[in-house]
């Protein structure tokens, strides 16, 4: 079972499933993620996206028998709709897994998967 970093566990993020080998992550709504009243803070949504991105990359690397150290290069987050006072979900997809770097796309949604609340693209260095 994938172990999430201290930050992710502390925020309340858990692994709730798997799709095509990629871990599905979720976080309940609560005080640790609340920004303006009854809404997710943009930073908490970004934290969920980023954690799902790393979880996807770990899964892909494990499947190919690799265990490099990961270093973040950058992340771009697009906010599409407000995160309401309901659970959020996120899953990452590996767009490209190279030798030195990976490009990962992540989506977060609430009740309707077809209406994401935020997306992210991450570049991660592997050394």
């Amino acid at each position: 079972m994938l172990e999430l970093p201290a930050y992710a566990r502390s925020l309340g993020i858990t692994v709730c499933g798997e799709e095509a080998g990629m871990p599905l992550l979720t976080v309940e709504f609560g005080p640790t993620v609340e920004g303006r009243p009854q809404h997710f803070h943009g930073g908490a949504t970004a934290g969920l996206l980023e954690t799902a991105g790393y979880a996807a990359l770990h899964a892909a690397l494990k499947a190919s028998g690799r265990d490099p150290q990961l270093k973040p290069i950058n992340i771009t987050v697009q906010y599409l709709a407000a995160g309401k006072s309901r659970p959020s979900f996120a899953i990452g997809r590996i767009t490209r897994l190279g030798r030195r770097n990976a490009n990962v796309a992540v989506e977060a949604w609430q009740d309707d998967r077809a209406r994401p609340i935020a997306t992210a693209v991450m570049n991660i260095l592997m050394v």
Binding site: P31, T32, G35, G43, I73, T76, V77, Y79, A82
Partner: protein
């Protein structure tokens, strides 16, 4: 624009606002603190904490809390630049990581709002762990100002907007 001393101060003040912003919710949980401000910029601090670590071997703060720090400093820089607290929604936020923060180091986020239009605000800034000349990360972002655009097609007016 700074008001004169004898005008009652209704102007947004990041230092004052921090007192209630960081008392609860996500930013309270992170333990964000106000450090400095200018006419169009705000600097906040994210204190190091064991449970905010991204990699237990290195003891370095995770990047998630740094995004939260920069998102919050961005919003406050926009209010600081405009002088008023109008809700804003983050549209796009980009963080370029230059290097890991030092072990057990707090990180400060300094963001300036360099341009505001009727409906958008543009920000840029850095995260550093002591020396602003040697940043941990650079950030750039675009925010929508909610309520500034009366047109119905403004997505920020349809009852949903990301928090800023």
């Amino acid at each position: 624009m700074q008001r004169t001393m004898n005008t009652p101060s209704a102007r947004f003040d990041a230092r004052e606002a921090s007192k209630w912003f960081f008392r609860h919710g996500h930013t309270g949980w992170l333990g964000l603190r106000f450090t400095e401000q200018g006419d169009n910029w705000v600097e906040l601090e994210l204190p190091w904490r064991e449970d905010l670590v991204g990699d237990s071997k290195s003891g370095v703060l995770a990047s998630g809390p740094i995004i939260s720090l920069m998102d919050m400093a961005s919003g406050m820089a926009i209010w600081q630049a405009g002088g008023t607290f109008n809700p804003v929604a983050t549209l796009d936020l980009r963080v370029d990581y230059q290097r890991p923060a030092r072990e057990r180091a707090s990180v400060r986020g300094r963001v300036e709002c360099y341009r505001r239009t009727r409906s958008a605000a543009f920000v840029r800034g850095i995260a550093h762990d002591g020396d602003p000349q040697d940043p941990v990360a650079h950030v750039a972002g675009v925010f929508m100002t909610i309520g500034a655009d009366p047109r119905k097609d403004n997505p920020a007016l349809q009852g949903d907007s990301a928090d800023g």
